[in-house]
Symmetry: C2
Subunit: 502 residues, 2 copies
Amino acid sequence: MSEIERIALIGAGVIGAGWAARFAINGIDVATYDPDPRAAERVNEALENARRAYARLTLAPPVPPGRITIADEIAEALDGADFVQESAPERVEIKRALLAEVSRATDPGIVVASSTSGLLPSELQADCAAPDRICVGHPFNPVYLLPLVEVVGGQATSGDAKARAAAVYRSVGMHPLVLDTEIDAFVADRLLEAVWREALHLIDDGVATADEIDQAIAYGPGLRWSVMGTFLICRLAGGDAGMRHFLEQFGPALDLPWTHLKGPALTDELIERIVTQSDAQAAGRTARDLERLRDDCLVSVMQGLRARNHGAGAVLRDYEARLFSRAHRASRPIDHDLSRPLRLHTARVAPDWTDFNNHMTESRYLQVFGDATDALLRFAGVDSDYLAAGHSYYTVETHIRHLHEVAGEEPIAVSTQVLDCDEKRLRLFHRMSHGETHVELATAEHMLLHVDTAAGRTVPAAPEVLTRLREITDAQAGLGMPEAAGRGIAMPTASDLRSDPR
Amino acid sequence: MSEIERIALIGAGVIGAGWAARFAINGIDVATYDPDPRAAERVNEALENARRAYARLTLAPPVPPGRITIADEIAEALDGADFVQESAPERVEIKRALLAEVSRATDPGIVVASSTSGLLPSELQADCAAPDRICVGHPFNPVYLLPLVEVVGGQATSGDAKARAAAVYRSVGMHPLVLDTEIDAFVADRLLEAVWREALHLIDDGVATADEIDQAIAYGPGLRWSVMGTFLICRLAGGDAGMRHFLEQFGPALDLPWTHLKGPALTDELIERIVTQSDAQAAGRTARDLERLRDDCLVSVMQGLRARNHGAGAVLRDYEARLFSRAHRASRPIDHDLSRPLRLHTARVAPDWTDFNNHMTESRYLQVFGDATDALLRFAGVDSDYLAAGHSYYTVETHIRHLHEVAGEEPIAVSTQVLDCDEKRLRLFHRMSHGETHVELATAEHMLLHVDTAAGRTVPAAPEVLTRLREITDAQAGLGMPEAAGRGIAMPTASDLRSDPR
């Protein structure tokens, strides 16, 4: 999978250490040179962060990690390397001299890339031997996680060198953006630098604080930018009429003092160029297609952040807590006929609950049944206060029967029968059916135990909960025991099979 | 939960329609006025998009949706409204006249907010009656999903009006950023506009295309911006030495031609201000703390995008596919002792698999067991080609026993016993244990049927698969039947309980 076996890293600051972690985790031996005595510590810290992140990032089997060595001399780091990445401080004279030294000490066939955020490759390669293999490979912090790397050549750089650098980056899970034209700060850092300078003006002008500026990004535009860039986003802001409409509507704002940066003149020629490029990017997808792609991704991003309870995810979590508590207050036990199975939970099969056949995956059945169990418990008085006081029911046994497939977006409803209960035990039987056709899709039988969650042992439930559960059990007694209840899994013997008329 | 019951929306373009969807979904009645005959259609489309997104966004019980009406006159929309949101075209003369009309037609106690992206509230409120309740509430597209809304007052606006607007937005799941100082384009749109103008320069200069610019955002900096703003990100780029080091290192770049925008002079006073605000924002968290927060969130965001197979998520999916295929080539069935339970699946409990107690949720047990079943099937030759040819095994029955709680991040391993198989049936028994302590955490027994997936009926498995499964069944016969196999759920009767010595 990897294109190279050993890489030399010149410079081990935040970026160089991040490269060391990414390459090592991908099974490539790393030799690092940095005169700073803290370099080894920085590399170790980056590697520790990266290991921690990759343990969550993927369940794919990791490759055996590469070996990291800290070299005392540049020549030692370069020895045997089949790719070189330079990440020295952002000063043209330092980088230019370093790259010249590296170029003289390496075989002319070895590609040498600089991590510079914006210095021109033509300047960096000016003093190099065999400058055709010198290019820029500009990554983003944290280098071990973010996929983007801009690959830029100078006047002397060959297309082959850029292609080989891109292949190396791709082999370690990155997304190389190979640019045709060199320009100060390339593409990404021009945008980053514009944001940075505008943000500095805001602080300098006393308009907003660093934290307010950060909030203005991470709770809104930043969420979109993780999904789509500025042009697709603006296209969608133009509605069905797309980019042309957006430029008509917001073009005049280019003359307003909305940033310290003066835009280019929005000539007809520039408008045509933007509209044409935007159409190419949309590649025939309608505004509706792109909106749904954007929304699907935004939902996933926000759910991801919810799992970390951070930023927009913390807002979502707080919002949901209020929805749950509102629903709890609104649920009226009195509305239900206790002698019938209780229909307390409905759901819709989310698009990401299905496999490649668009069938709901096994585990989502249990999720829906688990939610139905929670609904029954809330109905019986096991609410958030009860849980907060340190008591809960834990499921200890589950028996599911799958009767029909369920497809994405289908509505489902669960009705629940309380088969039995005592002080510590609760036995439930759920039936999941299609929300409209009422076809029975699956059943689940559960045994739950009432526990003291801190002590981790079973204890009797609170009297009011027990009273409520017994009331339901008694009222439903007339329903009888479901045929599937109490059944174990069995496979008929060969003689059973022979007598099976089917 | 909601602060208001009925809102008047003046203007139903992309933004106004988005507001209609957000408020209606949150149970608030919406009256919309827009002279454009396509307004109703736009509102319906936004509502449809929003419903679709919310069905995935949260499993919390939705509130009964508010009613949306399209008014023929502004006065009709305003009738009975307890909040007004104006989203007319971005022209100061249009908005100023509209807001003046709205202000004369509403009770002076009703807050009126403008969605303007950057016009000054002092100008907008200039002709209004009771201008103290006129403010800006600037949202971001899609309004029904993105939490950010900037709340800005003009010279005449009262603090109470801003607080009331913020409370309304918070009640519908948003994150109001209440700014003290009004400035053209506020905060977020100054940054957006700087990016937009710089991006227009890049196209105008022929340096990059719209799609390249978008890639330069969404595969790198955009991912970070969904988690943290520019200042926290730069602080971390400075390593342990933080913002002061970053400013030392990248301060000189402010003089480089890295954007068309000229930054402010980086005076000692400005440096101190930025460092102080950055320290306040970090709130005592070390670089390591913040790096891990950033990385945890980036992993979750990338996993979210992986679920949609989009952008950075598609890069991750492709990377993982290569890791899996590499591991698959490396795995040799011959390495396994078929007479022992087969240990074919390991996993780590992802942070988002756990409930608020940090215990793995019920449904994730079945997910892990389902993955173990898939691993056994692959081991027996049911690979992607086999599935593509239209045959598969479907689980029809499951019996899970939960023996111990499992916490987030814990390693788990599953070993599998094939209890029995015939032409169409397969009976499995999995044991899930802690990856290091080997404590048994749960067991699962499954019955599977071999199916023709297109026809949706059971058919015999392919001979080579059957041979392999029988080979395993025979080799494992010596293990005997697990005690829990074939067991159903039962609850002891009262007399059983009395004789129970525990």
